[in-house]
């Protein structure tokens, strides 16, 4: 037994946000951690053993050891400034080997963390990623000189292509060669900083902890019952400035650059207030109206839903089911009591049958719409556009009580509001989080719902309905945001963000990301869809569906001026918003009614899953308040809108 036990060696990937840690994690472990071109992506920390190929050298060593790799959240330095830093700091103090991923195009920023890591004094390897980008931007790095100056091994890499990954594996597997002592060098400790941390070395267990106390890290000081003195921050500043000076000197010695590129030019255009705003409006139009509305919800869905599912799949299923049970399409009330056999047949393959409608919805509608949304989002992310949008939007979002970074959860909400609520963590404080969460719950439709709405709106003649829907939504969004900013106490946080370079998205990464996210979405949606459809089909044959529709009829017909059947969409929307939206497709509506119902459905309550995440991320009170407010605002705005929309459509 003893012989089979492998010694565990813990390895952490550490680096600034958006330098390629997750891609490297993927190469080393074979496991996909969500990869994007903006900070704050690594929220759930991935952890998996490194996979060594059969033909790797030191194969014997990989039999003796298990190298557990941790993908830590991106940070600019280690301390306790925010949750991500605290998580990363604790991993760094715990692991045996650190792999520092550094971007070759932002060395003066990234090396600050590197120097902090060498001061901590743990075995350290540097992966110098994006060397192709550096070459493209005419940045020359003297890697040998840099390696000598820092005192660690540097592996040049292009992580997206896998270049450098074999050398990295080799280096890692070399580590434990000398029995229990790693043969990876911890790098050169700054003598000036070393002198400053000397007094703290006596009572801490590690050099790393001594350094962190010297840098005024509250948590570590508390751990040792050490009271930070009043001038603790001065010492931190002294250390930071020494480190910054060293990094600047390193960059002067080892980095040279010349010339500009077109991509840099594009990046600058997108930051221009006028051209940037025009580009944003154009992107919104192309992505939502042309791509998601016209192409995906129109052409693609028509093809799959009508040609395949409605014309081939559903008749085929009905044919089989009707061999065993009768299927009814009308006079369904009380069917369960009058003809249980027909009730079962109708439950399985009727208008709302779990084998017919649910499957058509899932694979004929939901799948293409979600795929389309995530593909579009992946392009926006990987190109480096989103951080620029955050800069453009900061001024506006500050007026709504948030900061530019809030644009990321708000856009992710267009994929899945539930997931987006989790990413509100990347905002500064409670006020920002609460406002972002409320706006997500209220005014952001999720992918499939968004797709159906775009499809319905683009189906009406001209661009006007789409513009009316969009502008009204933006107005309500702004109105509610300004009101919340006034009502919720507290300050909106500050916005400081580094802007990653524009990149040309790689097809492989785009497809992988799209498929992984779609799969996660579909896995969650499938169960929920069958349950929702099962409940509706059961209610139908039990005669309850009509009763519910009649109960909500006054609200729908008198307040919103819509046909009573639309009520069903809203009820289903409470369970799953997309499922509710699909119901709209079956109801014949006038253009005004289409725009009204699209608006009300967008504003209507968040689904059950989102509600659960809101309770988890904040509390029951906030979640219920947001839910109830959605009812009031959706029907309030809807009632006013329904009475005026007609004038704008003519």
């Amino acid at each position: 037994m003893q012989g089979n036990l492998k010694k565990e060696i813990k390895v952490a990937l550490v680096g600034n946000p958006n330098v390629g840690k997750s891609v490297i994690f993927n190469h080393l472990t074979g496991i996909y951690a969500d990869v994007s071109n903006y900070p704050g992506t690594t929220i759930e920390i991935a952890n998996a053993p490194i996979q060594f190929n059969q033909d790797d050298k030191f194969q014997q060593d990989s039999q003796k050891y298990i190298f557990n790799l941790i993908d830590t959240p991106g940070v600019y330095g280690i301390s306790s400034f925010n949750d991500e830093e605290i998580a990363t700091r604790d991993y760094i103090l715990d692991v045996d080997i650190i792999i520092n991923v550094v971007s070759a195009i932002s060395l003066s920023r990234d090396l600050f963390l590197t120097k902090q890591l060498t001061d901590i004094g743990k075995p350290l390897i540097m992966v110098l990623n994006l060397i192709d980008e550096a070459k493209f931007r005419k940045v020359e790095i003297n890697i040998d000189e840099l390696s000598r100056a820092i005192g660690i091994k540097i592996i040049p890499a292009i992580a997206v292509t896998g270049f450098g990954m074999a050398s990295l594996k080799q280096e890692i597997i070399n580590a434990p060669e000398l029995k229990d002592q790693s043969n990876i060098h911890p790098g050169r400790i700054s003598p000036e900083i070393n002198a400053l941390i000397e007094p703290f070395l006596d009572f801490t267990l590690s050099r790393g902890e001594a350094l962190l106390i010297a840098e005024a890290d509250k948590n570590i000081a508390e751990k040792y019952n050490f009271r930070l003195s009043d001038n603790a921050l001065e010492l931190r500043e002294k250390i930071y400035k020494i480190r910054r000076k060293e990094v600047d000197a390193l960059c002067r010695e080892c980095v040279s650059k010349s010339g500009f590129s077109k991509r840099v030019f594009l990046g600058k255009i997108l930051l221009n207030p006028l051209w940037g705003s025009i580009c944003s409006a154009l992107i919104l139009y192309l992505f939502l109206y042309k791509f998601l509305g016209n192409f995906v919800a129109g052409t693609v869905v028509d093809f799959f839903e009508t040609n395949f599912f409605n014309n081939i799949y559903e008749p085929f299923v009905r044919n089989i089911v009707s061999n065993f049970f009768p299927i009814y399409y009308e006079n369904l009330s009380n069917l369960i009591f009058t003809d249980p056999k027909a009730a079962l047949g109708t439950f399985l393959a009727g208008d709302y049958g779990v084998l017919t409608l649910t499957v058509t919805y899932l694979y004929g509608l939901l799948l293409p719409l979600v795929l389309g949304f995530y593909l579009g989002l992946a392009i926006l992310e990987d190109s480096g556009y989103l951080p620029r949008l955050a800069v453009l939007a900061d001024g506006l979002l500050t007026r709504l009580g948030m900061n530019g970074r809030a644009i990321i959860p708000l856009i992710l909400g267009g994929g899945c509001v539930t997931m987006a609520v989790v990413t509100t963590r990347l905002l500064n404080n409670k006020k920002e989080k609460l406002i972002a969460m409320s706006l997500l719950g209220l005014a952001i439709p999720c992918s499939a719902q968004l797709g159906v709405i775009q499809g319905l709106l683009t189906n009406i003649e001209g661009i006007r309905p789409w513009l009316i829907w969009g502008l009204t939504l933006i107005m309500i969004f702004g109105f509610v945001g300004i009101a919340l900013n006034k009502l919720v106490p507290g300050d909106c946080g500050h916005f400081i963000s580094d802007i990653p370079p524009m990149r040309f998205p790689r097809l492989k990464n785009l497809l992988k990301k799209t498929f992984v996210r779609t799969k996660v979405f579909m896995d969650e949606a499938t169960g929920a869809f069958f349950i929702a459809a099962g409940v509706v089909a059961f209610f139908q044959v039990a005669g309850l569906l009509d009763k519910i529709i009649i109960f909500f009829e006054p609200l729908i017909t008198k307040v919103l001026l819509l046909p009573k059947e639309v009520g069903l969409s809203f009820i289903l929307g409470m369970i799953r918003r997309d499922f509710g939206a699909f119901g709209l497709l079956k109801i014949p509506l006038t253009p005004s009614q289409i725009v009204t119902s699209c608006l009300v459905l967008t504003l209507f309550v968040p689904c059950i899953a989102t509600l659960a995440v809101m309770i988890k991320e904040r509390n029951l009170k906030s979640a219920i308040s947001i839910w109830l407010a959605s009812w009031i605002l959706a029907f309030g705005f809807g009632a006013i809108f329904a009475r005026f929309v007609g004038y704008f459509l003519v």
Binding site: Y76, Y240, C251, H494, I496, S497, D498
Partner: protein, 78 residues
């Protein structure tokens, strides 16, 4: 030849103008040192969004600073 320098707040800087950082408020000092910006640095403003952030550049690194803090950073410009 003597050059004239004026001391202004960062949010008043115009795009494409160069400047030297004079003082950074305590709240964001450490964050900015980490990102590569400290007092005495010679930088360039690459973009300014009206009522929004100022985008400054050091080497190849672009950093956006929200209006509120930009109005607290003192810089000198030629």
């Amino acid at each position: 030849m003597k050059k004239n320098y004026s001391i202004i707040k960062l949010n008043k800087i115009k795009p494409l103008h160069q400047f030297v950082v004079l003082t950074i408020p305590d709240e964001i000092r450490f964050e900015l040192i980490r990102l590569g910006i400290s007092e005495g640095d010679n930088l360039v403003c690459v973009a300014k969004i009206p009522f929004g952030p100022v985008v400054i550049q050091k080497d190849l690194q672009e950093i956006a600073i929200g209006a509120k803090f930009a109005s607290l950073i003192e810089v000198s410009q030629e």
